[in-house]
Subunit: 267 residues, 2 copies
């Protein structure tokens, strides 16, 4: 469908970031950029693109979505890529054995619109072409988004998945039906603070010998992160939890007048 | 996004026909077929495809949407292609100087769903790559459908336009109400287990000297309980968290060959 009106200047509105995890082909980065531009998205972030960046094939495939391509940012880790976001949605076409909510694109767009209307930053994660997102990447997200595809023919390429999510975003944001954000709940902490909590807890658990079966460590860590993520902690709450971890961890290192011996076992 | 479940047999449900008017590239026919298959459409009709039919490039680009490709019908005129339809919607990205209603994709899907539920046949027209539908083709349709694209970046390829319309169709038709999988949210633990976790944590924190200001202790405890409650933990998760607390608490009491100083984590 032709129809671009080149007399209209593109205005960048607050909108979700699109984060591609280890994209393999430049063409797919470019077509994803174009799909974003179709529906007014512009913040494209790449985590370890296989062929590096900048990428000529991406530029060619973007079909003049220059305002997206020029703003691409590359990150070494997913944690860095989502550090400033307060709502992170992971797109996946297959179920994960994780205690994490699964929603559809319209619900996802509504939630993103409510956050963005409140001045916060949100993002959508998309996995690599061959096998999507890793479980450890999904564990960093708040919620799983899946598309209502035909189960017997579910394979979508990245640009198509981006297109559908961008379409839903625009449908919900432009229509003015964005939910007004409730003022009761305090702000959820930026993702980097949550990741900081994860790191603090996990290094403490490593030191304490918590992971008795090393091969199960990644699964246990994903489960712990999933649990903690669901709390939607504020910055203050994260500081409190980190204080909790440090306090328990250091109890044998500092004198404390209130400390009691654990109840002595009678024998 | 991977995720096709090849064990599921595709069932062809009554659904809209997709009519491509004079498509130029076989690749676009193929990717349109694939997009249809993603959302359960299967009736693809071609009016005077430039490179004839069958078309090897179309087959390759369809990525195994064989059930669509095998059923393709070719017509000499648009009138023939839409002869059996009672509702025909013309997709276009630019306004036409025509006394014809213009609706969005969700409204279009609702109207199609109502017709199909009544046992009637409906179809969606898509134009040629270079300049879309001719006015005389639009004139044969009931209504114009246009997508809520960014006006300054409105160009969508055919497969993307088909994908979005097929997505809306599925969202509104009966089969679209369910996502292909849902979250595996297990049962939230009975409240006594959560209370047990509170007690375990709080006695450990008492012993570690966490509550430096005794008058603030009740408030801090309420805040901790509020935080933990929001996680909606399962029984298994509560056991894991209690294991975490015990592990950190006891790290100085038991020898552990793997023990290291916690890595200083910046946050």
């Amino acid at each position: 469908m032709a129809g671009t009106d080149t007399s209209i200047k593109i205005e960048l509105q607050p909108s979700p970031a699109v984060i591609l995890c280890e994209p393999q082909l430049g063409e797919n980065i470019g077509t994803a950029a174009r799909a974003m531009a179709n529906f007014g998205l512009w913040d494209l972030r790449l985590v370890r693109p296989r062929d590096g960046w900048p990428n000529e094939k991406a530029v060619a495939a973007a079909s003049r979505a220059d305002h997206v391509i020029e703003r691409v940012r590359v990150f070494e880790t997913l944690e860095d890529a989502i550090a400033d976001l307060t709502l992170v949605l992971a797109t996946t076409a297959r179920p994960r054995d994780m205690q994490k909510e699964v929603i559809g694109p319209d619900e996802a767009a509504q939630r993103m619109a409510a956050q963005v209307a409140g001045g916060r930053c949100v993002g959508l994660l998309f996995g690599r072409e061959k096998w999507g997102l890793l479980n450890e990447e999904v564990a960093l997200a708040d919620t799983i988004v899946t598309l209502p595809v035909e189960p017997a023919f579910a394979s979508l390429n990245i640009a198509q998945a981006v297109l559908l999510m961008a379409y839903e975003w625009r449908r919900h944001s432009a229509s003015g039906t964005a939910l007004p954000f409730s003022g009761v709940m305090a702000e959820v902490a930026p993702r980097e603070e949550l990741v900081g909590l994860f790191g603090h807890l996990e290094s403490t658990l490593d030191a304490s010998g918590f992971f008795t079966a090393p091969d199960k460590r990644p699964t246990v860590i994903n489960n712990l992160r999933t649990m903690l993520e669901r709390g939607k902690f504020t910055s203050q709450e994260i500081r409190t939890l980190r204080g909790v971890i440090s306090s328990i961890d250091r109890r044998h290192e500092r004198p404390n007048p209130n400390r009691q011996k654990p109840a002595a076992k009678s024998d």
